[in-house]
Symmetry: C2
Subunit: 127 residues, 2 copies
DNA sequence: ATATGTGCAAACTGTTTGCACACGA
DNA sequence: TCGTGTGCAAACAGTTTGCACATAT
């Protein structure tokens, strides 16, 4: 049976109130501000759980730590080489990439992830 | 000054003679068959070095370990949920995705990675 | 009451690094 | 010879897990 917990509720609230695609440590730090005894293990457990349930998104940008996104409608990201941020791209998700991929490949496509590298607006301005 | 080494030469030869997008451990195992004293550290050092030099490609498929590709012309991959393999997709690389992304975003795009998930031809047949 | 979730700390995996020695130019 | 690369082992980062206790239903 499914049980709620204050920890998971808070985690979700924190994740949904930011657009910064944070990693587990960032979430952990924000959690501690409001719930000083929460443990890192709990953060990891709930992040994976929510991701498996499809309530949040787990992003794999080529950096060391996984990042998470409270916004689950499919969209694309850019990993900034300047500041390391991960930002949402304002471009339409292209569902027929899946069909295109399935066409000649003999593969059964379930989805795709498209990640751009380059510089975010603020880092593009400076050098 | 740049120096060759038997280890790096062998590594590159191994990587170029497979299409399986292996991780460091797999390469390490193959290396040991021909060079029993090679160390894992050397494998990692040379993989990162060759990737930085643009001689090989480092792939980030959402699995734990990084994978490497001896083929460096840009192309897309599928990560198979069945067997865990990473396979090349027989579809054209789309350079103007970069332009499209740059259009409204204010970002400076350098490139993109497109990763499909689903099942490879052999796993698609069975369940 | 009882199953599910938590906190803590230890374990684990993939990767990096410091150091003394080996090797290529 | 002299600087770069290697082997080894220890260190590291991110993540997972076992266990006793706490909590939601």
């Amino acid at each position: 049976m499914q049980k709620r917990s204050r920890q998971r509720d808070l985690l979700l609230e924190i994740l949904r109130s930011t657009t910064c695609h944070p990693d587990a440590d960032w979430v952990f730090a924000r959690m501690r501000e409001q719930m000083p005894n929460v443990s890192l293990g709990t953060v990891y457990r709930n992040l994976s759980r929510l991701a498996e349930e499809g309530i949040i998104l787990k992003l794999d940008v080529g950096q060391n730590a996984d990042r998470f996104d409270g916004c689950i409608n499919p969209h694309y990201h850019l990993a900034c080489k300047g500041c390391g941020a991960v930002v949402d791209m304002p471009m339409a998700y292209t569902p027929n990439l899946n069909a295109a991929a399935e066409a000649e490949s003999g593969c059964e496509i379930e989805g795709h992830a498209l990640l751009f590298y380059g510089k975010c607006p603020s880092c593009a301005g400076s050098l």
